[in-house]
């Protein structure tokens, strides 16, 4: 008998005789709060930062003022083509190792933990938000939901090959519990909260 068959058979034999019911989730995540304010506070609490912007032009202005524009920048947003490359989606992902700033858009953000939901439709390449030194994510203010329950209500049956919640810059506290930003992924995360 294959291991698959023997494992499954043993599980069937040993699992409880009757199936217990799944709980309902609809009573969770109903607490009312100002989602945008909460989003901002939590994001800064975990080492990220935000800027409120009107449109893509204000994103361009901010990046020009605050990042080393002589270094490599990549984006999946056509409106940002002035400051970043837009033709790297089919390159070998290893060639992105010298990227200074990746700019992408998120489907939505979550106030309770400041996480942003992105999938490969928005990422260009899966490694793009990880391999970069700094990460910038644009999200529309109307697309901030309260908790993870509303988040998965929005994701529902969304089709993707890869999707991830990103909350703040990459970090570690593995040396004596001292928090260090920029473990393997981005050293900094700026969120553009757009009207």
């Amino acid at each position: 008998m294959s291991s698959r068959a023997s494992i499954l058979e043993k599980i069937k034999e040993n699992q409880p005789a009757s199936v217990t019911e799944l709980p309902i989730l609809s009573t969770l995540g109903l607490e009312a709060f100002d989602v945008l304010e909460k989003y901002k506070t939590v994001l800064q609490g975990i080492g990220g930062d935000f800027v409120e912007v009107k449109d893509y032009d204000s994103v361009i202005d901010f990046v020009k003022k605050n990042y080393a524009t002589n270094k490599r920048m990549i984006t999946t947003i056509p409106a940002l083509a002035e400051i970043a490359e837009t033709d790297w989606f089919n390159d070998d992902p290893h060639t992105l190792e010298n990227v200074e700033l990746t700019l992408v858009e998120a489907h939505f953000g979550v106030a309770e933990n400041s996480a942003l939901w992105v999938t490969d439709a928005l990422l260009g390449q899966r490694v793009a938000p990880f391999i970069t030194q700094y990460l910038a994510i644009i999200v529309h203010k109307k697309d901030i939901v309260a908790t993870m329950h509303q988040a998965y209500d929005r994701i529902r049956n969304q089709e993707y090959g890869f999707g991830t919640f990103i909350a703040g810059p990459s970090k570690t506290a593995d040396i004596e519990q001292s928090l260090v930003l920029g473990a393997h992924g981005a050293r900094g995360l700026i969120v553009f909260l757009m009207e």
Binding site: S3, I11, Q15, E21, I46, Y152, Q177
Partner: protein, 464 residues
């Protein structure tokens, strides 16, 4: 055959460096306090725990069907699924994937399952170079130690230790103990690893039956750096990682990081559903004793564990004995109820490494009755003949004394006499109760004697 020191023996060694033990104790308690702060910010925290517990109860009661559903959806997504009955088969499967691709280097992110299966040792015997990419795991790997905590692998080390290790292996400046500097050195060293490895192995936090996708949570981004740059991504999971539907992730992702470190969520919660074009994702589903545990009614709830480590951070015994004292991949209270299932004789000491204070049960995000199970394991282990000889003799002696009032009276008198007139007989290192504490002053008489003189009846008599 026992290769390891018993928990109490290893803990005694750990306890020799009082300052370091105090530091270890305080550091973990600090993490526990961060967990409390995060939990208290969620008014419905207890409802969340209850909901998570109910979802996991449902999983355990229907796990056969969920696994079949998961496999069929994963296959539809283009993922290759393997099944391993035990650690050895798991290791062979991983090695065969490496062989098929003619690759002898692997980058690995955190997976306690591969620690349980001793995959690194197996692969290195086969000439495969494995680099752990989680910073804490890389530190202990360079020191040839196992992780001492499932979430904080290097929590037993001070920054001076890390500095020395990095100086030796990564050529960092001698005596530079700055965590920022040391982390940066590891970042540069591992970036090169990520860019050159063709096979990446990760653990699995959750596997969703409904969609056939897996979720991997990290703060460092190391699982993603490995998986998205490699041609082959191998993800290894114990079969209990399965959850029914995508929406159930909302409950677990709210609980996991808050319970673990007090963060509102891990930095990255990555959902892998399909491989990139032309690349491979392999999932290895492992039993290794889990189906036995599923059949033990008193202990099956241990399979609800989501590996947050909260029970370890709160445990007074773990905090003052260190993870290595548990001689098992998973230490602390949860490790002590999982380990006897893997090897009863080798791990018979672990359920006794607890005060049964119940703090572990109180913080567990999926409401595992950890301290009850510790207590129940003790009964099982004694019944099956795994209790230490000394303890058996002492227990039998105690039973005789307590069952017989005359003997009890005599034993009490003798005890009081000895403690009063020959204290050195009990105040010595052979008596474990004397360790780290003074014996109390012996009372003049027993309660029984006192009651004879002062009880209602005797008082009435005296007043006659």
């Amino acid at each position: 055959m026992k290769n390891n020191l018993e928990h109490s023996e290893a803990a005694a060694i750990f306890n020799k460096d009082v300052k370091r033990v105090d530091w270890h104790d305080e550091t973990l308690w600090f993490v526990r306090e961060k967990r409390d702060k995060a939990a208290h910010q969620i008014p419905e925290w207890e409802l969340l725990r209850e909901t998570a517990s109910q979802i996991k109860n449902n999983v355990l009661s229907n796990i056969h069907d969920y696994l079949v559903e998961f496999e069929s959806n994963a296959l539809k997504n283009g993922i290759i699924v393997h099944w391993a009955a035990n650690a050895d088969e798991h290791n062979k499967i991983v090695h065969s994937i490496m062989e098929k691709h003619g690759v002898n280097q692997m980058v690995k992110s955190k997976s306690m399952l591969t620690e349980e299966c001793h995959l690194n040792e197996y692969l290195s015997e086969k000439g495969i170079d494995v680099i752990d990419s989680d910073l804490g795991e890389r530190i202990v790997q360079l020191r040839k130690e196992p992780p001492s905590h499932i979430v904080l692998p290097a929590i037993h080390l001070k920054k001076e230790d890390v500095s020395e290790t990095f100086h030796e292996h990564l050529g960092t400046e001698k005596g530079n103990n700055d965590p920022q500097y040391l982390t940066e050195a590891a970042r540069l060293h591992l970036r090169d690893t990520f860019l050159t490895r063709k096979v990446a192995l990760t653990g699995v936090n959750f596997a969703i039956a409904e969609t056939g996708e897996i979720v991997v949570c990290t703060n460092e981004g190391n699982a993603d750096m490995g998986a998205h740059l490699a041609d082959v991504h191998i993800a290894c999971m114990g079969f209990e990682k399965i959850i029914p539907q995508r929406k159930h992730l909302s409950v677990f992702l709210r609980l996991l990081a808050r319970s673990a470190t007090g963060q509102p969520i891990t930095t990255f919660s990555s959902h892998f559903k399909k491989p990139r074009d032309g690349k491979e994702i392999h999932i290895v589903i492992v039993d290794n004793g889990r189906s036995n545990q599923l059949g033990r009614e008193d202990f099956r709830n241990s399979l609800k564990c989501i590996r947050c480590g909260a029970c370890m951070n709160t445990c007074p015994v773990y905090r003052r004995s260190g993870g290595h004292s548990y001689h098992n991949a998973v230490a602390g209270p949860i490790g002590s109820i999982l380990a006897p299932n893997l090897d009863m004789s080798k791990n018979a000491d672990l359920p006794f490494a607890s005060t049964l204070c119940g703090s572990c049960t109180n913080v567990c995000p999926v409401k595992i009755d950890i301290h009850d199970q510790l207590y129940k394991w003790r009964q099982v282990l004694v019944k099956e003949g795994h209790s230490p000889l000394g303890k058996t003799i002492a227990m039998n002696g105690m039973a005789t004394v307590l069952a017989n009032p005359m003997v009890f009276d005599l034993a009490g008198k003798a005890g009081r006499f000895v403690m009063k007139n020959m204290p050195a007989l009990v105040n010595n290192s052979l008596n474990p109760w004397y360790k780290q504490r003074e014996m109390p002053a012996p009372p003049e008489e027993s309660f029984r004697e006192w009651y004879k003189k002062n009880g209602k009846e005797s008082k009435a008599k005296n007043n006659e």
